[in-house]
């Protein structure tokens, strides 16, 4: 585990003037993102929030390299994400999206298998990653034998197994019940403290955003634009008791006001 922490190198992400248009001009294109620029510091926990349809998931998909912006550029560690680079960025989705025919361990090994890494090393690294997410004893289980939270842990282990510089998470806990969601948030912070890569986390829960983040990018509804980046100066390690403090409530409220009353006309929804 110490090895995992040591070998991980975090990378920053630069989003430069990114716009995203879906569909073609004649058929009435939708502008999902408009001229978004932001800079994510290496090793930081960066959260994207905004109303549904603000393009935050699209932005995250562009960071994976799977989706290309209509204009603008995304750099990870100074290099363009013009296609998926699995050793730069691991991805965790809202649904765990595990392969039901594979065991937990084989699911975690999957990215390594695609790269043709020998079986012995694959197993060792997958078991390490499962240990990191607290599932050491469940390596041989199939997804249907695991709870929702456990499946998502396997998915996080799969995202971390290549020790990527960045972990991209698209509403990873949205499908879980409230209690599991809070525990998973704590778990993620604990893992992040050990591995130290940059995390970009999309959520629609402001409570979750403030609890996890170093910085929160607040986005407006369609077309998605960056409204403000809110720095969260709460001390770490975070604890659930902090949720009762005025600082916490103040931050949460400020973001809520931003989302509810976006500046300028034509933004109400």
């Amino acid at each position: 585990m110490i090895e995992t922490a040591r070998t991980t190198r975090a990378a920053g992400i630069e989003v430069r003037g990114v716009s995203m248009r879906y569909g073609n001009a004649e058929a009435g294109a939708t502008l999902a993102l408009k001229d978004v620029s932001l800079s994510i510091a290496p090793g930081s926990f960066f959260v994207l929030v905004g109303p549904s349809g603000c393009g935050k998931s699209s932005l995250l998909m562009m960071m994976t390299g799977l989706l290309q912006p209509t204009s603008g550029q995304i750099l990870c560690g100074g290099q363009a994400m013009d296609k998926p680079y699995p050793d730069r960025a691991g991805v965790v989705f809202q649904e765990a999206n595990l392969y039901p025919w594979l065991t937990a361990q084989k699911n975690v090994e999957f990215p390594l298998m695609l790269k043709g890494i020998p079986q012995e090393e694959r197993s060792r690294r997958a078991i390490e990653a499962l240990d990191l997410v607290g599932l050491a004893g469940f390596a041989q289980r199939h997804p249907h034998e695991l709870s929702g939270g456990m499946k998502q842990r396997v998915s996080i282990a799969r995202g971390l197994v290549q020790q990527p510089a960045v972990l991209l998470m698209d509403e990873p806990f949205a499908a879980l019940d409230e209690q599991t969601r809070l525990t998973m948030g704590d778990e993620l912070l604990r893992i992040w403290e050990r591995t130290g890569q940059t995390i970009v986390f999309v959520t629609h829960s402001l409570t979750e955003a403030v609890y996890l983040a170093d910085e929160i990018a607040v986005m407006s509804a369609r077309p998605g634009q960056l409204m403000e980046i809110v720095a969260v100066d709460l001390p770490r390690p975070r604890s659930l008791e902090m949720m009762g403090t005025p600082e916490y409530a103040g931050l949460r409220n400020r973001i809520w006001q931003l989302i509810r009353n976006p500046a300028g006309p034509g933004h109400e929804h």
């Binding site: 799977l66 998926p84 989705f93 999957f110 695609l114 199939h142």
Partner: protein, 255 residues
Amino acid sequence: MKTSRWSAALLHPITFFAAAIAVWEAAARAGVVDPILLPSASQVAQVLAQLLGQAGTWEAIGVTALETLGAFLIAVPAGMLIGWFLAENRYWGAVFKPLFYFLFSIPKSIFLPMFILAVGIGLEQKIAFGVFSTIFIVVMSISTAIESVSGRHRLVAECYGASRRQIALHVFLPSMLPAILETLRLAMVFNFTGIILAEMYVSRAGIGHLLERWGQNYMLPQLMAGVVIVSCAAIVFNESLRALENKFGHWRASR
């Protein structure tokens, strides 16, 4: 626990089967049924043993096996290719899938006379009709199986840099494997039915031909022995594939 469930699953059908045979034997011996229409189980068993000792029977089995295998080996790959093509190409899928559904719903036996006129009554005709009976179920099952592969499963593989080949091999194939085995099983049911029907309709060889002749001549013990032979072949193939389906599809049941 496991063994007792196993024995329950095996023992009960066997018990009932044995009971049915016993009732049949008793009814035949007591003269409750017409011995011409229903010979006793022991008599059928005797005839079966005799038939299996004759070269002619094995020749007929060989002919039928050859036809069945030939039609299967043509219809399954061809049907899979067409099914894959229709699933992957939206335009051709939209055009041809309804046509395949229409054709699937028509009883294939009504085309048998046309097959005889066009291809004759030999081996080729049996294979052609077997292919015709089988290909529609393969096309439809495979295109449905391809379409039901989860887009999210594909997305994950793409995020981790999988090539097209890797996606086919590590996402589509394992995801579709239980459906493919199920398709093979159904294909064989349709195929075997088509071949036997074609043999019984007009032919000079094959087990279907023997069945038809025995029936025409009131040779009930032989006819029933023939039924046993055909049933055994069909059941063995079907159950082997079902066992494979369970082995590779265990994750499917409780998803």
